[in-house]
């Protein structure tokens, strides 16, 4: 394998492998059924070599980075290497192998050229419903068996023919049969794309050349990462935070990270995090490793595609039985809540060592609201599930972004008011920025949003709002942001506040107001540019009272001055 390959050929093969992953991703996203895949990009694809190393990868969602190989490895460990046969496609979602939750179906296909195993094409996508006790997922599950269908690895296509009985079984375990079968079809088509294209590359360049190029490609990725880590001051960096609760008890759950930099190596130790919880905030070790890799990538090499040489300088320590090293039957539905925090904490821990890549914390979790009921016009059941945008953290040189979707939701778009009201018996009376919700500083965090739903027909609500106990923190003297809140019937005698809840009954005429948190500030508020404070007041992002109290500046809210004072001019430069 040590034949030197011309750098030109290496680069052509490197681009070709990335392109295969992109083509697989394009196939999956364009043909998926559920918005969770095509917009939240709650999916990822990987092209692996025959040793399960990543040749090319395209992750929709950062949190899915680099762990699809765990599935092909698990199959091979259980059934031996001879289990692979041309034309077969496998599916599985066992969370203690995949590391995620049951919604995430991993579909894999071995890639052959004649009888030679060249590698694997794999895809993972979040399915809308996999038959959990409540529609679309659970808030308060206490074991994995309440969370839906759990598949050990199984062949869904055999020798090129889709197995109807398996497809039926999987489809009928979902409340959305067509969605499940449709997404399965999209994932199989995605794997086929990889299985068609990889052999073309082998045939064009020859196996020996491709394999030698692969080794060089991996070595390049590793070299770049080691170079960067070597530039980070050696030391041990720690951070900790809590998630509000596990959804069952009211107890805070701590996530603790310890990051060690030693020369050109990085170690992330998660051992001190709390034990696995009764509620569904646990995850398998595979996914904890993946999340640690995401944090690593954000800091070390945010823009280049990952491959089998990536992450070689990184070791991750997970304690078996902890909430990020969970075993059967720990519930895992909200596995990403501690992982989102974990990623933020690694960035926080290293923020002083790698200031140019860091930012203050964002509003954090997905802030999901579920509304469901029976539509009065069609008498059909309806279900609306939607994460909510919030504020992101500021960094040296810039305010954080206002009203932006959280890290683990990819490129999800909010649902337009006009689509929401057309489909469901609700009215969105208000959707706008939440004044004063940001962390203050020389650069302020982004603001969160407020949404006000009017319920037009009796309905049921579940919600998962998080990070009220560790709201977005600031950096370098920047302030902490406001936490989230949900108010039912604000201003009425029956007003009440919630964050997490399952199946709360709502009546026609009830009002639900959700508020998301802001992002943390960066630097001391005293150092903030005075015009920026005026602009914020003028725009109503902060109130005049806050301008006075935090920034010591007296500004009238409505300027009647000439347009030249207007923030649009300032913003347009």
């Amino acid at each position: 394998m040590s034949t030197p390959v011309n750098p030109i050929t290496v680069e052509i093969i490197r681009n070709a492998l990335i392109a295969v992953a992109d083509e697989m991703n394009a196939t999956l996203i364009r043909s998926a059924y559920t918005p969770i895949v095509y917009e939240m990009k709650d999916c990822s694809v990987a092209l692996l070599d025959s040793e399960h190393r990543v040749l090319g990868q395209s992750a929709g969602l950062p949190i899915f980075l680099g762990n699809l190989e765990a599935c092909t490895i698990a199959i091979e460990e259980q059934y031996g290497r001879n289990v692979w046969a041309p034309g077969d496609v496998w599916i599985m979602n066992d969370p203690y192998v995949t590391g995620t939750h049951l919604h995430d179906m991993t579909v894999m296909e071995p890639i052959f050229d004649d009888s030679q195993l060249l590698g694997f094409a794999a895809s993972r996508a979040h399915w809308l419903d996999v038959g959990s006790k409540d529609p679309g997922g659970t808030i308060d599950s206490t074991d994995v068996f309440q969370e839906g269908l759990r598949l050990a690895p199984i062949k869904v296509v055999e020798a090129g023919t889709q197995v109807a009985t398996i497809t039926q079984m999987i489809g009928r375990n979902s409340r959305f049969y067509h969605g499940a079968v449709g997404d399965l079809g999209a994932q199989i088509a995605c794997c086929h794309t990889g299985a068609r294209r990889l052999p073309e590359i082998f045939r064009r360049f020859g196996a020996a050349t491709v394999l030698a190029a692969r080794d060089e490609i991996f070595a390049q990725a590793e070299r770049l990462e080691r170079e960067f880590i070597a530039s980070v001051p050696d030391g041990v960096y720690r951070a900790e935070g809590t998630i509000d609760s596990d959804g069952i008890s009211d107890r805070e759950v701590a996530v603790r990270v310890e990051v060690s930099i030693d020369g050109d190596r990085m170690a992330i130790d998660l051992s001190d995090s709390d034990d696995a919880c009764q509620g569904p905030v646990n995850c398998g070790a595979t996914q904890a490793v993946a999340a640690a890799r995401v944090a690593y990538k954000l800091l070390v090499d945010p823009h280049r595609p990952a491959n089998g040489g990536s992450f070689r300088p990184l070791t991750v320590e997970v304690r078996d039985g902890s909430l990020v090293g969970a075993n059967e039957p720990s519930p895992v539905e909200w596995y990403f809540t501690p992982l989102g925090l974990l990623i933020d904490l690694v960035v926080k821990a290293l923020s002083e060592a790698v200031p140019e890549r860091a930012a203050a914390a964002s509003y954090g979790d997905s802030m999901v609201i579920y509304l469901s009921g029976t539509h009065p016009d069609t008498r059909q059941p309806w279900l609306h599930v939607e994460p909510t945008v919030g504020g992101w953290g500021a960094w040296q040189g810039s305010d954080g972004e206002d009203g932006l979707i959280n890290n683990v939701n990819g490129s999800l778009k909010d649902m337009p008011i006009e689509v929401l009201e057309t489909k469901y018996p609700v009215r969105l009376r208000h959707y706008g920025y939440r004044s004063d919700s940001c962390g203050h500083g020389e650069f302020r965090g982004g603001v969160g949003v407020e949404r006000e739903f009017e319920i037009l027909a009796d309905a049921s609500m579940s919600a998962w709002f998080e990070r009220s106990r560790t709201p977005a923190w600031g950096l370098a003297g920047g302030g902490t942001a406001q936490p989230p809140d949900i108010v039912i019937n604000p201003g009425r005698p029956d007003e009440r506040h919630l964050l997490k809840c399952a199946n709360v009954r709502l009546s026609q005429g009830d009002v639900v107001r959700t508020k998301t948190g802001g992002g943390g500030g960066f630097g001391r508020p005293d150092d903030r540019d005075r015009d920026a404070v005026r602009t914020d007041v003028f725009d109503g992002v902060i109130t005049p009272e806050t301008a006075r109290r935090v920034y010591g500046l007296s500004v009238a809210r409505r300027s009647s001055g000439p347009r030249d004072d207007s923030p649009r001019k300032a913003g347009a430069t």
């Binding site: 750098p7 196939t27 067509h178 206002d402 009215r427 923030p567």
Partner: protein, 687 residues
């Protein structure tokens, strides 16, 4: 006597013009320097470069970049946005999505107006367009006061559910007119995009308000100028949809002309498809810093129902142009011991090393120069002298770092960039469910014809076409387009239960609307053709497919419901590789497009008398070997000429490279086609 059809297209450096002489059946091309301060000056000069006496012009069409430039440079109007109470921040939130996955320091595109430029007005409709709360006239009057007090110059009005019922927006218009008078520019969302999704509609409306007054002023200036020059026919303007409208109508639908310039190339593809009979084309426009790809499928441009401009959505039909970050200026460099080419670009400054402007890193252009594929005499229209030594020096330096000789380095850079461009094209075709091997490749722009054959080879394509005037292909493409008007209405109903009589009424209404618009442009009713289509998807999906429902409405025909489902399933299968006959579908938006035929050129056989004289030869490197290659000026290639590669063909705006293994043919109209001698083979042959 009127005899010339003329098209003018504004580029960064030159404004191109192409004229077709209806008497002789011949084309001619000309150009003038683009005049950034006052674009109409350059446009008029360009026109004069091909037609002396403008009274002989029978048809004139123009692709304008005025609105796009105002947007790109953020020199637009000061816009006041009027939105529904409770939804004023929709434009700022912009659906809250991110486009970069691993970036904690992410910012959305800066909106064209800020929160304080937004006024909310009370008044609300429900999803069926029924009034829940009447419009507050008081709020609108307050908005008008705000407009006056704060020196705004344009107003965008986008209210919730106005696509279902425009009454509230029309009331706003009425109040604003009575408060502010008839001259204030006001853009109403339902007139620009009668479709659901308030952010996208608002964004479209704001873009219109931001650019329309500037474009209107420009169009008036230009029309008056051309009239003063003696032109007596109306000026037509290219729309983003690939169809044209008169400059007069463009004033009311300005936003539709925003991407007027870039779509010309794709429409050139459409004309070329008609002329050559090769109906499936991948068109590549490769310039110094950019590489644009567009697709012609079955002779038609690939048109989307929405587009995005620097992250701002536009709800309107737009010919898809995909920009890929590779071009002549892509820089080659060493990283982690390996070679990289692009996406970093040397841009105009310092530019490639061979420009002699201080660039030291080798670019794709430098590699082409070193390989002998660029004719220094005609490069960039002879604008400046190539520094060939500088190109060699930059290649030798990088080659030294990577253990490669200078010639090998040059070959390698070209191979890598060709592979990358080909892969980008392939990913695009996968998204569309298209197999590139079924296509011919059309190469234009300054650098396109130099790389075209090699991209074709990578993609398994057997034919590359270089049109006449490859530097002015966009202008050529505009010459033969049709008038086009589009209309859309929300029709959000499940397929199984949708009221087909209601759908028929929607189509009839839209049909009457676009027909009258086109007839108002001076086209006889016999020359108007209507296309109806409907967007549909499996219930639960977000992306829709636009399904044609026939040349005339056939909604009433029995069996239509079953038929449209089968057509949808088939379209889904061909696009995505799978479909589900059992799964129910739903409709979202009904669309009607009207085309008005303006006649077209019937070109004669190219009438050239090739100049005589010896053919120059020079060594050009192919596959690591320097081959003695003829360098032929394009004007010596008469119709029916045939020759084998290697051959390099040079003309003022482009250089065409035909390697060994490819065969050149010139058709009756002077269009070059290179054919692979062993068809059906992919890759392998080193460029």
């Amino acid at each position: 006597m009127s005899r010339y059809r003329v098209a003018m297209d504004i580029g960064g450096t030159f404004t191109d013009a192409v004229a077709y002489d209806e008497t002789s059946g011949q084309y001619s091309a000309g150009k003038a320097s683009t005049t950034p301060g006052e674009l109409s000056v350059g446009v008029r000069r360009a026109m004069h470069s091909v037609v002396e006496d403008l009274s002989t012009v029978s048809f004139a069409v123009h692709g304008t970049t005025q609105g796009l430039n105002a947007f790109l440079q953020r020199r637009g109007e000061n816009v006041l946005l009027i939105a529904s109470a409770g939804a004023g921040d929709v434009y700022q939130i912009a659906r809250g999505n991110r486009t970069e996955m691993y970036e904690v320091q992410y910012r959305k595109p800066r909106p064209l107006l800020s929160r304080s430029d937004t006024v909310e007005v009370s008044g609300r409709l429900d999803p069926r367009g029924r009034e829940i709360e009447p419009l507050s006239v008081e709020d609108v009057v307050a908005a008008a006061r705000r407009y006056r007090d704060r020196e705004y110059t344009s107003i965008a009005v986008a209210l919730l559910f106005s696509y279902e019922c425009p009454d509230h927006e029309l009331q706003v218009l009425e109040v604003l007119r009575s408060e502010l008078g008839p001259d204030v520019p006001i853009s109403l969302s339902h007139r620009l995009a009668r479709e659901w999704r308030e952010y996208e509609r608002t964004s479209t409306t704001v873009l219109d308000a931001y650019t329309a007054p500037i474009v209107r002023t420009y169009l008036e200036e230009l029309s008056e100028g051309l009239q003063a020059d003696g032109m007596s026919v109306p000026l037509h303007i290219m729309q983003s949809s690939g169809g044209i409208i008169t400059a007069r109508s463009a004033r009311d639908h300005t936003v539709q002309t925003l991407l007027s310039g870039p779509v010309g190339g794709a429409m050139g593809g459409v004309s070329l498809a008609r002329l050559t009979g090769q109906v499936n084309l991948i068109c590549i426009d490769m310039g110094g810093t950019s590489f644009d790809v567009s697709l012609i499928v079955d002779g038609e441009a690939d048109v989307s129902t929405e587009a995005s401009l620097e992250g701002f959505p536009l709800l309107m039909p737009v010919v898809n142009i995909h920009t890929i970050g590779a071009g002549g200026g892509s820089v080659a460099y060493r990283e982690a011991g390996g070679l990289r080419v692009g996406p970093r670009s040397a841009r105009a400054s310092p530019g490639p090393a061979c420009y002699g402007r201080g660039g030291t890193e080798p670019t794709v252009t430098d590699a082409n120069v070193a390989l002998g594929r660029v004719d220094p005499a005609t490069f960039a229209g002879g604008e400046f002298t190539l520094d060939v030594d500088a190109a060699h020096r930059s290649l030798a330096a990088l080659g030294g770092e990577l253990g490669l000789g200078s010639a090998e380095m040059a070959q390698g850079i070209v191979d890598v960039v060709n592979a990358k461009m080909a892969q980008a094209i392939r990913t695009l075709t996968v998204e569309k469910g298209i197999e590139p091997r079924d296509f011919a490749l059309v190469a234009f722009g300054g650098a396109g014809p130099m790389h075209g054959v090699f991209l074709a080879e990578e993609l398994g394509i057997d034919q590359m076409i270089v049109p006449r005037f490859p530097g002015a292909f966009s202008a050529w493409g505009m010459l033969e387009t049709q008038l086009r008007r589009d209309s859309a209405r929300g029709f959000p109903f499940p397929h199984a239960t949708a009221d087909l009589a209601a759908l028929q009424r929607v189509f009839d209404e839209m049909g009457a609307e676009v027909r009258s618009q086109i007839e108002a442009e001076g086209v006889g009713s016999d020359s108007v053709v209507l296309h109806h289509s409907i967007d549909a998807r499996y219930i639960g999906q977000e992306y829709t497919l636009t399904i044609p429902v026939g040349m005339l409405s056939v909604v009433g025909v029995s069996g239509w419901r079953e038929q449209i489902k089968a057509v949808f399933d088939a379209a889904h299968h061909s696009r995505f590789g799978h479909s589900n006959a059992e799964a129910p579908i739903e409709f979202t938006i009904a669309r009607t497009t009207g085309f008005g035929d303006l006649g077209r050129a019937a070109p004669s056989r190219l009438d050239v008398r090739p100049p005589a004289g010896p053919v120059a030869r020079r060594p050009v490197r192919f596959g690591g070997e320097a081959l003695d290659t003829p360098l032929i000026p394009r004007d010596r290639l008469a119709p029916s000429t045939q020759m084998d590669g290697p051959v390099v063909i040079s003309e003022a705006t482009a250089t065409t490279v035909i390697p060994p293994g490819w065969h050149l043919e010139v058709d009756d109209y002077g269009i070059l086609s290179a054919f692979r001698r062993n068809p059906g083979k992919q890759g392998g042959a080193s460029s």
